[in-house]
Symmetry: C2
Subunit: 511 residues, 2 copies
C-alpha cells in the first residue's frame, strides 16, 4: 500500500487556506496513493472554544466536499457535527466519497466541546485491513485484538523537549505484538504557546523505525508499506531542538497573526540578546527593532554589549534613556513618596517606564513587543508586572537561565553573535547601583536545579531536601515560587518547551 | 437524625486554620448530631496543581486524625492518598474513628491530579440508611436504585448569576423518586476568580425546599431530618446577588492574600466609581485609596465627579496630573514618533502612564491595584494592555456595561453614593478631545445584547443576525471580539459572575 504522509502546518480557522494545502498535497500523488493528513487538518488546531460555534462545522463540511471531488483517496482530520453532537473526526475519503468516519473517544484538553466518539475504525482498503484513528484511542484499539495490516494514527502532538523519542517508544511494544505497519501522522507549526513538532514516523511490523519526517517543518512523503527498511537515527541535540522549536514558535506567531515587526528591549544582558538572535532567525533582521533604555544604574558595558549585539545581528535600534521619565515620575509622585525610603516602588518604576517606551515604539511602528523573561525569573517572581513581564509572546519563558546560557553558547559555536560579555558577566536587573541577581536569589546553577525538581519533578520541600539541597535555600525558593503565582497569572504567554510550562501546565491558587 | 450543616469558608492550603474552623463547628453541637462539611473543607479548594505535591496529603491526614479525637460524628471533605492514587474524598468519622470513605468518581476541572474514585457510599447510621458523596456523582448513584433514608451531597459550587435555583431544581425529580431527605452542602467564600456561593439546602422526601442557608455567608445550622417543613423563598434580585458576590470576592481576595489596602484610579466615570463603592463595602473606606489622574483631555466634570465620589465614600485620594509624564514621554520618543500623526500610540501612552502612577502608589503603600475594566470593554478590546487592563483582580470584569449602570443605580437607591453625573453622562476614555466610546463602538445597549448572544449564548454571526440584529454591526462586534483575544490573555483575572467569564470559560486561539 502506498501512503503519502502529509505533515502539514494548518492555521486555526483559516479553513480555505488549509483546504488549499490539502489539495496541493493530493495533487502531488497518483490515484494509487492514500494520503493521510494530521488531526484537524482542515480546521487547524487547537480549536478551543471556537468549536462551540456552529459556523466552523458548516465551513469545514463545505471544503470536505470539495476535497472529495479531487478524486484522490485520503484520510483527513476535521470537526464534524451530526446535528446532535460535535466530534473530533477523521474522514476516510475513497473514490471521491466519504466511506468511513472515525470519531475521537478519549478526549483531551484541546477537545473542549467535542462529544465522546467511537474510537478507531477498521476498513478494507486495497485488499488489506486498515485501521485508523487518534493517538489517544490507540490503547483501546489494541485491547480489541483485531488483526490488521496497517494502522494509521493521527496526532496533535505538542512539542516537549523529551517527548519525541518517548512517543515513538510508546507504540513499539503494541506494534510488535500486532505485527502491523504503523504510521504516525503529526502536524507541525505553532499556534500561540503550542509548538507542534511534526516528526511523523513509520514503524514496520517488528517495531523498527523505518521513516522519520523532519521535526518542525512541513513535508509530504510517500511510503510503500510493503517495502519498509529500518533507519538509523541521528537525533538533534536538546539545545538544537529547543532552538528550532523557538524559532518556529516566534515565526508562526508573527506569520499567523499577520504581524511583520518585533520590538525587543536590549539591556546588554543575556536574555534579551538571545531573544533578539532568535527573532532575527525567525523573522529576519529587517523586521527586528531593538530599543536600548539606559538609566543611571546601567553600567557602561551594558550599553556597549547591547550595541555590539545590534551590530552583530544587523538590526535597527533606538537609544531612549529613561532618566527624564524616571525623574518626572518621581516628581509626579512626590506627595505619595515623601519621607519614604527608596525601594521596590522606585525599582519597579524603571521597569514600567521601559515597558511604556517599548509599547510606544511597538504601537507607533505596528510591531509586537517580544518578551524576554526566562523561566527561572518567572518562577521566583523576579520581574516587574506591566514592566519586563510584558510582550505579545514570551520567547524564552520556558527556558531556565542555565538553558539560556547554553543556547547562547550554542549560537556562538562558529562565530560570535551574542557578545561574550553578555554571556559571562554576572546577571543584574540594574535597577539600583551594583545590584546583582545573586543578591536576592541563589546562584542560577543551584536555583535552576531546585526549580526543576519542584516544577517539572513535582517534588515538595522535604523531598528536595532529601535529595541533598540546603533546607533554608529550598525553603526560600519554594516560598518565592508560591507567593508569585499572582504575577504569573498576568505574564504574557510563552512558547511551551517543557513538560511543565508556567502559565499553562501549572495553575496554582493565588491566595 | 440530627444533622448540622457547616457551610464554611475554608482557605486553600491553610490547613491548620481550616481544621480549627471545623473543630469550632463540632464544638457547637452535642454528640447526637452528625456534622456535614463541604467538599475539601480541610484543604480548601480549588487545589489546582498543589494536589500534585505529597506534602498536603500528609498535613491533611494529620489534622483529620485530630478531628477524629474530637469525638463528634461528621463527614468531612479532604484530599487523600492511598500510596498509589490521590483522591478527592469524604471521610465519615463516627465514634472517633474513620468508618467510611467516599471518593469522587466523576472528576471536574478543579480535580486535576485526582484519580477516579468509586462515587457514593451508603452506610447505616442511627438505624437509617445514609448515602453520602459528591454532587458530580449523584446521577450515577440514582441509577443504582438503592433505597436510602437520607442523602448528603457535598459540593464546591461556583457562583454564577442564574445557577442557584437551577442547582436546586436539578435534584428535585430524583429526590421525589427516591423519597429520601436530601442535604446539599456547599462551601462559601472566594478564591481568586471563583466565588463559592454557599446556599446549602435541604429537600424533604417530596422534593420540597425545607431549608436554605444564606448565600455568600458562613453559617452552621442543625436540621432534624424527621421534622422538615417546606419554606417559602424570597429570592434576592439579580443585581443584589451580583453585588453581594463581588463584595465577597473583593473582600476574600484581600483577606486571604493578607493585603489591607486597595488603590483605584478614579476617572469620574461609572466603572471606577462602582468599583470604589464595592471596595469600600468589602474592605472599609479606611483601606481604599483613590488616585485622580487628569489629563488635558479630561473634562472639568470628570475631576469633579471623581472628587464627589471620593467625598461621598469618605476615602483618601491623591491627584496626580499626567501631563508632565505624557510630555516627557513624547519628548523621549521624539525620534521614533517624528513625522507621524497622533494616534493609538499616544492614546495608549496615557493609559500606561496612569498604570505607572497607580502601581507606584500601590507599591509604595503596600496596596493592590483594583482593576476597573468591564466585560463589554474586555470583549471588544476597548482598553490598553499594561494600562487600564492592569490590577490584582478585576472587580467588574464579568459585568457588562449595562449591568454596571444597573448596579450603580441600585447602590444609589436610598441616597446618592455614586454621583448621578457618572451614571448619566456618555462614556468616554478621554484619551483625545471630545472622544466618546460610541465613536468606536455601537451604543452599549445594543453592544451588550450582541455580546451576550455571542459569549453566553455561543451564537455565531448568522444566528445573531437571524435574531434581528444588523449584519454590519454584528460583523464588526464579532470581529473585535476575535482580534482582541490576545489582550485578554494578559488582562488581570476577574471575579466570575456569569456562565461564560472571559479569561476563564472562553479560551480562544490567538492566531
Amino acid at each position: 500500500m502506498k501512503i503519502q504522509i502529509a505533515q502539514l502546518n494548518p492555521k486555526t480557522l483559516n479553513i480555505e487556506a488549509n483546504f488549499i494545502k490539502a489539495k496541493e498535497a493530493l495533487a502531488k500523488v497518483n490515484q494509487d496513493v492514500l494520503t493521510v493528513f494530521p488531526e484537524l487538518a482542515l480546521s487547524g488546531s487547537p480549536l478551543f472554544a471556537t468549536a462551540d460555534y456552529e459556523d466552523i462545522y458548516k465551513q469545514v463540511a463545505a471544503v470536505a466536499e470539495r476535497l472529495c471531488s479531487e478524486n484522490k483517496d485520503c484520510i483527513v482530520g476535521l470537526p464534524t457535527n451530526d446535528g446532535v453532537n460535535r466530534y473530533n473526526s477523521l474522514a476516510f475519503i475513497a473514490k471521491g466519497e466519504l466511506v468511513d468516519l472515525a470519531t475521537k473517544k478519549n478526549l483531551g484538553s484541546f477537545d473542549g466541546s467535542f462529544s465522546k466518539g467511537d474510537g478507531f475504525e477498521v476498513t478494507q482498503y486495497e485488499g488489506k485491513m486498515l485501521a485508523f484513528g487518534f493517538e489517544e484511542d490507540f490503547e483501546d484499539f489494541v485491547l480489541r485484538q483485531q488483526e490488521v495490516d496497517v494502522v494509521v494514527c493521527m496526532a496533535n502532538n505538542v512539542f516537549e523537549i523529551n517527548k519525541q523519542q518517548e512517543t515513538i517508544n510508546k507504540f513499539i511494544p503494541a506494534v510488535r505484538k500486532m505485527a502491523c505497519r504503523f504510521i504516525y501522522v503529526n502536524r507541525c507549526g505553532a499556534e500561540g504557546s503550542y509548538i507542534f513538532n511534526g516528526g511523523s514516523f513509520v514503524l514496520n511490523e517488528k517495531g523498527n523505525l523505518c521513516e522519520q519526517m523532519p521535526l518542525f517543518n512541513e513535508q509530504s512523503k510517500v511510503v510503500e508499506t510493503n517495502a519498509l527498511s529500518p533507519l538509523t537515527q541521528s537525533p538533534m541535540s536538546k539545545i538544537e531542538k529547543m532552538y528550532n522549536a523557538v524559532v518556529l514558535g516566534i515565526g508562526d506567531y508573527f506569520r499567523k497573526n499577520g504581524i511583520k515587526k518585533a520590538v525587543i528591549g536590549l539591556s546588554g544582558g543575556i536574555d534579551s540578546a538571545l531573544v533578539a538572535a532568535l527573532a532575527v532567525r525567525a523573522i529576519g533582521n529587517e523586521n527586528v527593532v531593538g530599543v536600548l533604555m539606559p538609566s543611571e544604574y546601567s553600567t557602561d558595558h551594558s550599553i556597549k554589549d547591547a550595541e555590539d549585539l545590534a551590530n552583530n545581528l544587523q538590526i535597527k535600534y533606538y537609544v531612549v534613556p529613561i532618566k527624564p521619565l524616571y525623574q518626572t515620575a518621581l516628581q509626579s509622585l512626590s506627595e505619595v513618596f515623601a519621607n519614604t525610603e527608596r525601594g521596590l516602588a522606585e525599582e519597579n518604576m524603571q521597569a514600567r517606564i521601559r515597558c511604556q517606551i517599548l509599547m510606544g515604539v511597538a504601537n507607533k511602528i505596528g510591531a509586537v513587543l517580544l518578551n524576554t523573561s526566562n523561566k527561572s525569573e518567572a518562577a521566583v517572581g523576579y520581574g516587574t508586572l506591566y514592566g519586563d513581564t510584558s510582550g505579545g509572546i514570551g520567547a524564552i519563558g520556558d527556558m531556565y537561565k542555565t538553558e539560556v546560557w547554553a543556547m547562547a553558547r550554542w549560537i556562538n559555536r562558529e562565530r560570535i553573535i551574542i557578545p561574550e560579555n553578555s554571556i559571562t558577566k554576572a546577571p543584574s536587573a540594574e535597577l539600583s547601583y551594583g545590584q546583582k541577581d545573586s543578591d536576592a536569589l541563589p546562584e542560577y546553577d543551584l536555583l535552576d536545579k531546585i526549580l526543576y525538581l519542584h516544577i517539572e519533578g513535582k517534588q515538595d520541600k522535604e523531598q528536595i531536601i532529601a535529595a541533598g539541597y540546603d533546607g533554608q535555600t529550598v525553603d526560600k525558593v519554594l516560598h518565592l515560587v508560591k507567593i508569585n503565582e499572582w504575577k504569573r497569572h498576568q505574564c504574557c504567554p510563552c512558547l511551551k518547551l517543557s513538560s511543565c510550562t508556567l502559565g499553562i501546565d501549572r495553575l496554582m491558587p493565588v491566595s
